[in-house]
């Protein structure tokens, strides 16, 4: 048993040394720092302070399971119908539009936001940083 404990301590120490090297050399960003936003991105905390239109760019099945209250589903599959609804909503009361998908890596929100900027040139359109998960 003491031998296994010694092995465990050695593995933890070596891993910690590696992690420290990554942080000190600047190879990895510190997890506790706040990442910078790309152009056209907005944080959830900031988005919730303004009156806006949420657009859920995830597949409709995921939207059906859960979504941000009041969000409308708009993705590449239902583009025409959903865009018509969104335009109606936006023309009624023009306000910023925030598109979200499931995570930072999904990329759909940025693609949809880009397409929306082309179709709704006058609207203020953002993609949600970090995505949204129920």
């Amino acid at each position: 048993m003491p031998a296994l404990l010694k092995e465990l301590c050695l593995i933890i120490a070596l891993t910690a040394a590696g992690v420290a090297y990554s942080l000190i050399s600047g190879q990895a960003p510190a997890p506790w720092t706040v990442a910078e936003l790309d152009a056209g991105e907005i944080r959830f905390e900031d988005a919730t302070t303004i009156d806006l239109i949420w657009v859920d760019a995830r597949p409709e099945s995921a939207y059906g399971e859960a979504h941000i209250e009041g969000a409308i589903s708009l993705n590449e599959d239902n583009w025409d119908d959903a865009l018509f609804n969104l335009m109606g909503l936006w023309l009624e009361t023009p306000r910023p539009i925030v598109v979200y998908c499931a995570s930072e890596s999904c990329g759909t929100s940025k693609r949809i936001a880009e397409r929306l900027r082309a179709d709704l040139a006058d609207a203020e359109i953002y993609s949600l940083f970090g995505g949204w998960q129920p």
């Binding site: 296994l4 092995e7 070596l14 590696g18 990895a28 960003p29 995570s103």
Partner: protein, 151 residues
């Protein structure tokens, strides 16, 4: 070559393959932790901060236990951690497969643009896991034999 030598040779080859797999998987992720963070987030199981911690610690842990499998002083526990980690990966891939996620597994870094063939991935990890368990068991048997000889 007698059967004992052959067994030792096979054990060494299997040990090298498992260790090399873990070392090769760890290095690109250590070099590019930001892309690996995105891969972790793709599994949609942990939040943003947790995925950053995972992307920072996991590659170094993989590297240490990968090399550790070749170092007598820590090879038993390294092997045990490798087998446990492979079981966790199998569970994660099965979960992503069940949820219909089309993501890159991030196993060997970014693998940009590639989506995961879950069946192949789970099969590969099962084989690696079985091989690792065999290596660890042989190490334990050898350890016990040496201890009883020493007495």
């Amino acid at each position: 070559m007698n059967s004992l030598d052959l067994k030792a040779l096979v054990l060494l080859v299997v040990r090298l393959i498992v260790a090399a797999t873990f070392i090769m998987a760890a290095l690109p992720k250590i070099q590019d932790p930001i892309s690996f963070t995105a891969s972790v987030q793709g599994f949609q199981l942990v939040g943003s901060t947790m995925s950053k911690w995972t992307a920072l610690i996991l590659p170094w842990f993989e590297l240490v236990i990968g090399i550790g499998l070749l170092v007598p002083a820590i090879r038993r526990l390294s092997g045990t951690f490798i087998a446990a980690l492979l079981l966790v990966f199998i569970g994660l891939h099965a979960s992503a497969w069940a949820r219909g996620l089309e993501i890159s597994c991030g196993c060997f870094g970014t693998e940009a643009g590639t989506t995961t063939d879950y069946r192949l991935l789970i099969l590969r990890n099962l084989i690696l896991c079985a091989a690792t368990i065999w290596v660890v068991r042989r190490d334990c048997v050898r350890e016990i034999s040496f201890s009883s000889l020493a007495r």
